[in-house]
Subunit: 195 residues, 2 copies
DNA sequence: CGCCAAACTGACTTACTAGTAAGTTAACTG
DNA sequence: CAGTTAACTTACTAGTAAGTCAGTTTGGCG
């Protein structure tokens, strides 16, 4: 049965935005409660500690990634389509609300994070790398992508470049992310998108 | 004349480490003062606000970069040597103290930062991109590097990949940064370093 | 209707935050 | 030697952080 209110979901979505805009240590339970018109304690009712909240946020992203990619992981498919969808997703989120990805949001503050949040981040990154590695493998086998070296290294390069670009966009504006996305395409032998 | 104590320098170096390990919002004046055996107020004496401290940290990095690269910026030189030195510097810092670069440290928390710190970050990123763009230009002209597209896009890709890799290393271990560095080399037509 | 439990509120604690103000020490300076 | 100043300490404020707990509202159910 559905919950009687959607408060829990609204807390998650508010916290998600705050964490990706300001980092794990850059927002408080007050910052979540105020715009939702609820009290501090209501947030604690749903998420006893901040670690619970952040870990669930990261885990949700991992589940979403899993849902979107498990078909490709199992049966393969259009590698270029997977890559372009990820780039588009990244650019869209970045343009909409100037957020970084959750990995970037917790990576910088890593050594000030509670252990469960660190662990959730590790699981997400492992899944991301596994998926992108498969995308690179399949893309090269099918002749869509051209690159030297192991697929995992190429995958890690693509992911880290996009993550870094999304962060640096805050200093240099959206052109940077477009440039990096295009360079990733060129390196793979794909045509760059027009700016 | 030299200052009568080195407290100011020791504050800077302690804060630098803390900020790059835990992020701007992940450490306090207490965290600086305690290991130095001084009081909270002594830190405020040298750096009235946390923004003053962080902005100076970032500005110091920019000056260091400038000092190390102004000869190359003015007269050109060995592009591959510049790139390799930067990769080595990045890998060394990362391995020593598990820090991210100052850009990464403040990028994630960007929208919770005081304006002077944001501005200092922008200046540093602008200088970094200008330098790496020149490295890519010179490297391609001299036939050391091979890549398609504008040099600035390649430069941004290299910088963002290294920054992202240095962060993700926290989740995946040092192999990730080595992989990314090698993939950057391969993409440029350079031989990968042995692991 | 009355009961129960989920979903809160109000009021609170404890700990820590950045920052300040006034006083102290010790080295240099005239 | 007296005065000045840099470099602090001690003691503090006001605000905010996460987290707790006892009580209240609200909707569903027998």
């Amino acid at each position: 049965m559905p919950p009687r209110t959607d408060t829990r979901e609204r807390i998650l979505s508010t916290a998600d935005l705050l964490m990706r805009q300001k980092g794990f240590n850059g927002f408080s339970y007050q910052d979540i409660a105020k715009p939702l018109g609820i009290r501090n304690a209501a947030v604690h009712y749903h998420f006893p500690t901040k670690a619970d909240l952040a870990a669930e946020l990261v885990e949700n992203v991992r589940r979403m990634l899993h849902d979107r990619t498990d078909d490709f992981m199992a049966r393969g498919g259009d590698a270029r389509g997977q890559l372009e969808a990820f780039i588009a997703f990244t650019m869209n989120e970045c343009a909409c609300d100037h957020t970084v990805c959750p990995v970037g949001a917790i990576a910088a503050d890593f050594f000030s994070l509670p252990e469960p949040v660190q662990a959730a981040g590790k699981r997400l990154v492992d899944d991301l790398v596994a998926w992108m590695t498969r995308v690179c493998e399949v893309g090269r086998e099918q002749g869509q992508f051209r690159f030297d070296g192991p697929a995992v290294a190429k995958a890690e390069e693509i992911l880290t470049a996009l993550q870094g670009a999304r962060q640096m966009t805050r200093f240099r504006g959206p052109a940077m992310l477009r440039n990096v996305a295009n360079q990733i395409r060129r390196d793979l032998g794909l045509p760059a998108a027009r700016d």
